[in-house]
């Protein structure tokens, strides 16, 4: 059964991929929009049928007229339901990565042409999250969807479902679009002591951190490199010489700024990564330079957002 299901699912997905190929920008048209009765629509059809049978059996022209009118209204509402989605343009904007278990923020933009139709009561479903949106007076709107993540690694939320049953709720128009969006999910941070250092005794985490900070004494200046924290730029020198220098600080225990995979106090791969992640985030918060050694990849000493991100991605990729 499961195999069969999977087979159908893969067939469905490959058909969908052919029909609506992944793209960062999609304008909805006939090709992307599906339309069918909702549960309420089925019920309304049942009521129509009963009305029709009643009208025939009682030979009642006026009930028949009403049944026909309702039928016609329901048919016309198909076009309105379709029109409510058609012409809507969805653009992939950006993604905010996160740690496993947190929510990754996916930003997309909904827009319509200047002479286009309004789009009402849009229900966006993506990765198990539902959100309403609409485009009435404005021409475009940005929607942020916070999608829950589970595992570290590359997170692809699958296809985005946009649906609307406006105006009567009897028909539902929907689309499955692949915006080709993905993000890295970092390991879930796990507090742990830093590995024991040569010559130093066992220290608590807080002490260690204090120590690192405590010796953050001014050491000298070095030429500014992109990625250096702006806080550390020597602005007075910049004002005088028009050259940017970064103030460097030294910590007493230089080796501690190397986060080494092999030294993490655990045997389990995921746990090690989580511990590393925790320390990377800690250092980043404290603006401490650090290096990261992973099997197969070494990130040189550095600091700043980009450096931090690079390290985290390295963790996610491993």
């Amino acid at each position: 059964m499961l195999i069969k299901n999977n087979w159908f699912k893969s067939r469905w997905l490959s058909w969908l991929n052919k029909r609506i190929p992944p793209s960062q920008s999609v304008q909805l048209s006939q090709r992307q929009i599906f339309i069918f009765l909702t549960r309420n629509g089925w019920m309304a059809s049942g009521v129509l049928l009963v009305l029709f049978l009643g009208a025939v059996n009682y030979g009642n022209s006026l009930i028949l007229g009403m049944a026909f009118w309702l039928t016609a209204i329901f048919l016309v509402s198909i076009f309105h339901t379709y029109r409510n989605l058609a012409g809507l343009t969805i653009d992939a904007l950006r993604v905010q990565s996160c740690c496993a278990g947190e929510r990754a923020r996916f930003y997309i933009n909904l827009s319509r042409p200047e002479n286009g139709q309004q789009h009402l009561a849009l229900l966006l479903t993506w990765g198990g999250v539902q959100q309403f949106s609409e485009l009435t007076n404005q021409l475009s709107t940005t929607v942020c969807m916070a999608l829950p993540t589970r595992q570290r690694g590359c997170f692809q939320p699958g296809r985005l479902n946009i649906a609307s049953s406006f105006p009567l709720g009897l028909f539902r128009a929907w689309t499955w679009i692949d915006l080709d969006m993905a993000c890295w999910v970092y390991p879930k941070p796990l507090p742990s002591p830093l590995p024991r250092l040569q010559g130093a005794g066992e220290m608590t985490e807080a002490q260690l951190l204090n120590r690192v900070l405590g010796v953050d004494d001014f050491e000298g200046l070095q030429t500014y490199a992109p990625g250096d924290p702006l806080k550390h730029v020597h602005w007075k020198v910049f004002a005088r010489t028009d050259e940017m220098f970064t103030k460097t600080f030294v910590a007493a225990h230089q080796p501690q700024r190397l986060l080494d995979w092999s030294k993490m106090p655990s045997d389990h791969l995921e746990v090690k990564l989580s511990q590393l992640c925790y320390w990377i985030l800690q250092f980043a918060e404290q603006h401490v330079s650090f290096a990261l050694h992973l099997p197969g990849e070494k990130v040189a000493l550095g600091s700043g957002d980009l450096h931090c991100q690079r390290c985290l991605i390295a963790l996610a990729q491993l």
């Binding site: 549960r39 309420n40 019920m43 309304a44 009521v47 009963v50 009305l51 049978l53 009643g54 025939v56 059996n57 009682y58 030979g59 009642n60 022209s61 006026l62 009930i63 028949l64 007229g65 009403m66 049944a67 026909f68 009118w69 309702l70 039928t71 016609a72 209204i73 048919l75 016309v76 509402s77 076009f79 309105h80 379709y82 029109r83 058609a86 012409g87 042409p113 200047e114 002479n115 286009g116 009402l120 009561a121 229900l123 198990g128 999250v129 539902q130 959100q131 309403f132 609409e134 009435t136 829950p148 049953s165 406006f166 105006p167 009567l168 709720g169 009897l170």
Partner: protein
């Protein structure tokens, strides 16, 4: 882990739903039992209370108890035999109770879709034009409420507007379907009880019955004539024939009622004089099987019987407007000979009652020498000359009602006179019977039809004369000739008791010319509505189709219908869905786009995102001879597009120049 958005019903939509529910139930209220109305009001008030934050939804046990007891109540009230009325009552009860659990989105949808159904059921009981208008209005509101449910942010006005647009866009399809969709006969027989309160004449009559109808301002039927309308004195609409008398009540003879079948004039020994008058009767629901027609009626419509007492009946009680066409022969000779059994039946009376009348009849029969015709004349003369009074509110009679009426009170309505006449004749050995139906009616000159109201109800007698057969004798004509000549309302409207229960009835004030004219116009509108829409049935559809499409098979009509509906929907879809691309490009843009088209023909297509200047820079080396024109076009276009001070006249000349230049570039 999934997050689903739970939508609450917005307060605006909830208000709409409740208002539409009330509007849908309102017309039903007059037919519902009081306790059911109380339940509806109670449910509504409770729901409004919950809506305003007082109290909470009842739990499911409470709901189950309510539904159960309500169902039992309906069965107790209407009995096991569920006719449309009981069915609708049940529907409305469950509908009202559904309000109590309308807390979720889905329930609200179900409630609204059911509202359509409740609205439709009203048509079973009322098919007037104004009710239809009202009900279609409610339908519009329900659609609006559905719209509001799917999009809570819309204002009430926008909901109604969209609902109106939807309905209007659907209207052509509806009309085509209504006219051409093949009407089919009922799929299975239904137990149609129609209105529980029987309207009009019944199968038996005590003298006071017709007087009750005489005070009723309600339409019995309309008859549309194809040809001249006969004189008022000839408009005797035969409904029922009473041959059975038990001393108090006249009723239809068992023998006749059990032998309802279609007879021919030949079978019944009737000869008629051509030509007859043709008309079609639109009978309001009566919940009875008898129909009304002028003597002698001939009908060629399946389901209608011509009976041995010259009446017409249908197989089923008439629960809604019923239309039938009749040809009546006003001059006829019916049954010049009677069989013995018939003679016995038409002479039957309880011989131990009304001794005074019996004695009088026998005495007079001897006086006239045994001639039934002369005896009838003598009795009629007596009615006319003695102090007989024609009144709608005669004193009540007990025991020997004929004697008391003829010799003591001498006050009565048509049924008193007809009954007394037949009793006297039968006492004297003359076969005779009472006929009830309607007399006269008001001619509406706008539509060439006669409106017959309940107050036109009438009773007269039929006397059998040797060799002449059955002859109509109307004793009322002898007592109150104006009743026959002018129809009842003019004869009686001066009298205080005419329609005294209907102080607002227009018929009371019909001596005012303006009001009469108004009444006629209103009635004509209602008549046209009934004829064209309510009465549009299988027969009429076939007649119409035959008239316009001769010899076209049913299949091709069905295919044609399908094609037309699809075309209509296609046109609508095109109109709704095609985006008007040119609408936001103004003339200037279009001229520039034309220029780009010219360049494209020469193999130089403007790339997306390329500015006019960039494009010009790319064009110049490719078309060295046209450099001047290209520059001018670009300059002109940019100037007009982005210069705030450009006047409309400037713009127009610029567009003209642009087009010229584009043409020059197009030339080799």
């Amino acid at each position: 882990m999934s997050v689903t958005v739970h939508r609450e019903i917005s307060r605006n939509s909830l208000t709409w739903i409740l208002v539409t529910n009330v509007a849908a139930i309102a017309p039903h209220v007059i037919r519902l039992p009081y306790w059911l109305i109380a339940i509806c009001v109670g449910c509504l008030l409770y729901r409004v209370m919950v809506f305003r934050g007082i109290g909470s939804f009842p739990n499911k046990w409470w709901c189950a108890f309510l539904v159960l007891s309500g169902g039992v109540g309906i069965f107790l009230h209407y009995g096991i035999n569920l006719g449309p009325e009981a069915g609708v009552a049940l529907l409305i009860m469950s509908f009202a109770m559904k309000m109590l659990e309308m807390n979720r989105f889905r329930n609200a949808y179900i409630q609204l879709i059911l509202t359509y159904f409740v609205v439709a059921t009203e048509f079973l009981f009322n098919s007037s034009f104004y009710m239809t208008l009202y009900l279609y209005g409610v339908m519009l509101m329900i659609t609006a409420a559905l719209i509001g449910l799917s999009e809570a942010s819309l204002s009430s006005w926008k909901m109604l507007r969209l609902s109106f647009f939807l309905s209007m866009q659907a209207l052509p399809v509806m009309l085509i379907l209504f006219i051409f969709f093949p009407r089919i006969s009922p799929l299975w027989a239904l137990n149609m009880t129609g209105p529980t309160e029987t309207v009009g004449l019944r199968e038996s009559m005590t003298p006071a019955d017709i007087a009750k109808l005489g005070r009723m301002d309600r339409r019995a039927f309309r008859a549309e004539f194809f040809g001249n309308i006969p004189d008022q004195e000839q408009l005797y609409w035969r409904g029922l024939v009473f041959s059975e008398f038990d001393g108090r009540t006249w009723s239809v003879s068992e023998n006749y009622s059990s032998l309802q079948r279609s007879n021919t004039f030949y079978q019944l020994n009737i000869s008629v004089e051509q030509p007859g008058v043709e008309y079609s009767v639109m009978l309001e629901p009566t919940d009875q099987t008898h129909l009304f027609a002028l003597d002698m009626p001939q009908v060629y419509q399946s389901g209608i019987n011509f009976n041995r007492d010259f009446t017409l009946t249908t197989g089923q009680p008439i629960a809604q407007l019923f239309i039938y066409s009749v040809r009546s022969f006003l001059h006829y000779q019916a049954q010049p000979t009677l069989t013995d059994r018939q003679r016995v039946r038409e002479l039957q009376f309880p011989s131990d009652t009304n001794p005074r009348s019996q004695a009088l009849a026998k005495k007079w029969m001897q006086e006239v020498g045994g001639d039934p015709e002369q005896l009838t004349q003598k009795i009629l003369q007596w009615f006319g000359e003695d102090q007989f009074i024609y009144t709608l509110s005669p004193p009540a009679l007990k025991n020997d009602i004929v004697d008391r009426f003829l010799f003591d009170t001498k006050q009565g309505y048509c049924s008193f006179y007809a009954g007394a006449l037949v009793f006297l004749l039968r006492s004297a050995g003359v076969p005779s019977r009472v006929v009830v139906g309607y007399m006269g009616g008001e001619i509406n000159p706008l539509g060439h039809y006669v409106v017959v109201n309940q107050y036109d109800a009438h009773a007269w007698a039929e006397v059998w004369l040797e060799a002449k057969g059955w002859v109509r004798v109307d004793p009322t004509a002898a007592v109150a000739p104006e009743r026959i000549r002018d129809s009842v309302q003019r004869g009686l409207s001066e009298k205080a008791d005419f329609l005294k229960d209907y102080p607002l009835s227009l018929a009371r004030y019909r001596h005012s010319a303006l009001l009469r004219q108004m009444w006629r116009s209103i009635d004509y509108a209602s008549f046209s509505w009934q004829r064209a829409v309510v009465g549009y049935d299988e027969d009429r559809q076939q007649a119409l189709l035959k008239h316009y499409f001769k010899n076209v098979s049913a299949l091709s009509i069905a295919l044609g219908l399908f094609a037309v509906v699809m075309c209509l929907l296609g046109v609508l879809a095109w109109w709704l869905l095609h985006t008007r691309k040119s609408s936001h490009h103004d003339v200037l843009d279009r001229a520039y786009v034309d220029f780009c088209g010219v360049c494209a023909q020469k193999g130089l297509t403007r790339k997306p995102g390329e500015t006019p200047y960039q494009f010009a820079r790319r064009l110049r080396p490719a078309m060295p001879t046209k450099g001047v024109q290209i520059d001018e076009i670009t300059q002109l276009y940019m100037q007009q597009q982005y210069q705030a001070s450009a006047s409309p006249a400037d713009r127009q000349s610029a567009v003209k120049r642009l087009r010229q230049l584009a043409k020059m570039i197009g030339r080799p």
